[in-house]
Assembly symmetry: C2
Homo-oligomer: 430 residues x 2
């Protein structure tokens, strides 16, 4: 029996919403079973809404009730963003028997548990493929492909803006602030870039993936986060000589009784697939007990790529009855304290030069039984400020517990020759 087309309303016609409208209209015109029937947008004069409004004024409404009470509408696509009206809208939509599709990672990471419980009670789909990795189908695969109990590790580049900035710093040897400004001018970074450069955006996304894999909503503050705004060119140059790239990695892994999770710039060996993805491209690598590493690469943002994921969710709703089959095996595990994680740490040491510093730092590290794996002090980093001789050098430690390194770093920071506190970069250690 041929199913009838699915009727869609879009709430919010910004960069993503207008992409969704464009893809649905294109599919409609090719005879696909999907219809755009309403657009909720107050500002019909905005750069994305305006051309649509000119063509299809009849689709537009400013009244949410008109959409909620229209029995013909099957799905509401929430592309408003934020956690305010968007949350109310999704609640109302579910209450009125509509399915909901959203790309709003912020909202989902914060209120996903509540909203999914609502969806479950109303037996309606609440789908959000586009919220993690844009066009990359990582959520679909978590739901339909991976044996979740076999997923051991997920690591990914989940924020395009920061990957673009890091790639530019690396390739063009330009410092962070300058690349950021240029990215803002090009529209690749927001005017307030905090969410991206501090790693918060990637943290929302790894939190959503952790829910999909384990069924647990981790309190967001428990996931350690470090941004990319403290990275300097000397770090990239050192990474290069260590045969690594620096990437902002969102990470999850689990052992029998605990799990690890963080978002942090990491040194990634150059032969690893994560280091090979540059520009604004995203990647998610899922390591399964049997499948080995499976990587998914694609555009993590942008109007059309994000829209393609949203439209895929809409077709999924058309093809699948709602059902809630928790795929997780219930397992009592907790997030391990970050201080227990093991990394290969690289320290950037910024000093007012004087004899004996390397010896002193070596002694402090030795006291904590930390071995040095590599050290490089290069003449070009020497410079004079007033009558101070200053320099920067990097050293990499053998794999060691985070907590121990922190103690040693604290002690190094107290030394009077330190010009700035030690900057710590990490590399995964398996």
């Amino acid at each position: 029996m041929e199913k009838k087309p699915i009727n869609v309303a879009i709430a919010g016609l910004g960069v993503i919403g207008s992409g969704v409208a464009a893809v649905i209209r294109a599919h409609e015109s090719e005879g696909a079973p999907i219809r755009l029937v309403k657009i909720l947008e107050v500002n019909t004069d905005g750069p994305y809404a305006k051309p649509f409004y000119a063509q299809f004024p009849g689709l537009f409404t400013t009244d949410l009730k008109e959409i909620l009470n229209d029995p013909e509408i099957d799905v509401i696509v929430e592309t408003i963003g934020g956690r305010g009206f968007s949350k109310t809208l999704i609640e109302e939509a579910l209450n009125h028997g509509k399915h909901v599709v959203s790309a709003n990672k912020d909202l989902i990471a914060t209120h996903g548990e509540f909203l999914l419980e609502m969806a479950r009670n109303s037996e309606k789909h609440f789908l959000f493929e586009a919220s993690v990795g844009g066009a990359i189908p990582v959520i679909r695969l978590m739901e339909n492909y991976f044996s979740l109990s076999d997923v051991e590790e997920v690591s990914g580049i989940l924020n395009g803006t920061t990957n673009y900035i890091l790639s530019e710093m690396d390739e063009k040897s330009v410092e962070f602030e300058e690349v950021l400004k240029e990215a803002q001018a090009k529209g690749f970074a927001e005017q307030d870039p905090t969410n991206d450069v501090k790693g918060y955006d990637a943290r929302y996304k790894i939190l959503i993936l952790i829910y999909l894999i384990t069924g647990k909503w981790v309190p967001i503050d428990e996931i350690g986060v470090e941004g990319i705004d403290n990275l300097e060119l000397s770090d990239f140059e050192y990474a290069e000589r260590m045969n690594c790239k620096i990437k902002l990695i969102a990470y999850f892994s689990r052992q029998k009784n605990f799990m690890d999770a963080f978002v942090m710039p990491l040194m990634v060996p150059r032969d690893h697939i994560l280091s090979k993805v540059g520009g604004a491209t995203n990647i998610v690598t899922v390591k399964g007990k049997y499948s080995d590493e499976i990587s998914l690469i694609g555009q993590g943002a942008g109007s059309h790529p994000t829209a393609s994921a949203i439209v895929s969710d809409i077709y999924k709703i058309r093809e699948t009855d709602y059902s809630f089959n928790p795929p997780w095996q219930d397992h009592p595990f907790t997030l391990r304290p970050f201080s227990e994680y093991i990394f290969k740490h690289t320290l950037r040491i910024d000093i007012n030069d004087q004899p004996g510093i390397v010896g002193d730092i070596g002694s402090i590290l030795a006291k904590y039984h930390i071995n040095i794996y590599a050290l490089e002090q290069l003449p070009q980093y020497h410079h004079r400020e007033g009558n101070l001789e200053k320099t920067v050098f990097h050293l990499t430690l053998e794999a060691c517990q985070e907590g121990i390194v922190r103690k040693a770093v604290e002690e190094i920071n107290n030394a009077e020759y330190m010009a700035r506190p030690v900057f710590v970069l990490r590399e995964l250690y398996h």
Copy 2:
């Protein structure tokens, strides 16, 4: 309502079948709703079967009827291989109301249309995720994620053995025959490597993907194929200077009224993701009209990775009722003749040296209005055989239709200074 566990029989306990048995047993022991209830295997003394037989002799049978007539068995996993008994077994399984999972790309590419029609008539699943890309979930994504009418292009490295050989040739500067021997010794290549090195294995796989995207079973001989066994180190050296890698690419694309498909070694620019996947790893890149490029990377072979895809199919059967909803929009398109494809061609010219050859070849190319894009003749390729001065050089042509280049090459091949026929390598041109 909690569904009951799914009961599985495995037919053929070789490298893949034993992997499936191991994964199912592990899942069983962790409480997952899956049971291994029978194994069809005549040779219980083989390297893969023997340890299982020692532990679970009661699971083994040599009688297919015992499996077919067991009402408790839901799914039969076909891991026998070939197109003989495996085909009979799948037919019988479907006739007896069993679902079937197979990784047998050869069989599916040859008899998939017939077997899927049988499955449809019996309303049973016939799934084959593991047949393309091993652990890479490309088939699942074609079925559940991509809007198939938007898929414009698929290009992939779908054969691990040849990717391993090409990577070794490139990295270690060793000629094909030697790498092949070493790969055979390590078990990375079969004793009869024809299927892999001639590109036939990859052609089965692209044929299956074309079916999934378009609903059409293309006659296999219509898909042009070229192997990797004519590649020489000088080609890799030239590719390196052209900033390319050489990869065996399985390719599909379509325009409004026709489609292109082939399997062939291509020069791939080094900044493209396809060139970054080395060793035996596989990659599939799917270009959608809206999603842009999405790449999937993972292990394309091996006992456990392949088994993980098969087990995923088994869970899918447990969770999904059979339904046949052709996702394709019917569209009358045909395979375009290979002679009409456009590439950037590279010619390897192997000559008995004498004055005037470059001029002569240039004149022949000019006659066909073919422009030379790059040419390199290096002193190290000069050598003397008897009283012949021999050398090899490469030239790259500007983008041109295959058929025109073939005519020019034919004419060049007739020149008396040619020591061997021209070898042609191609690069995609968009």
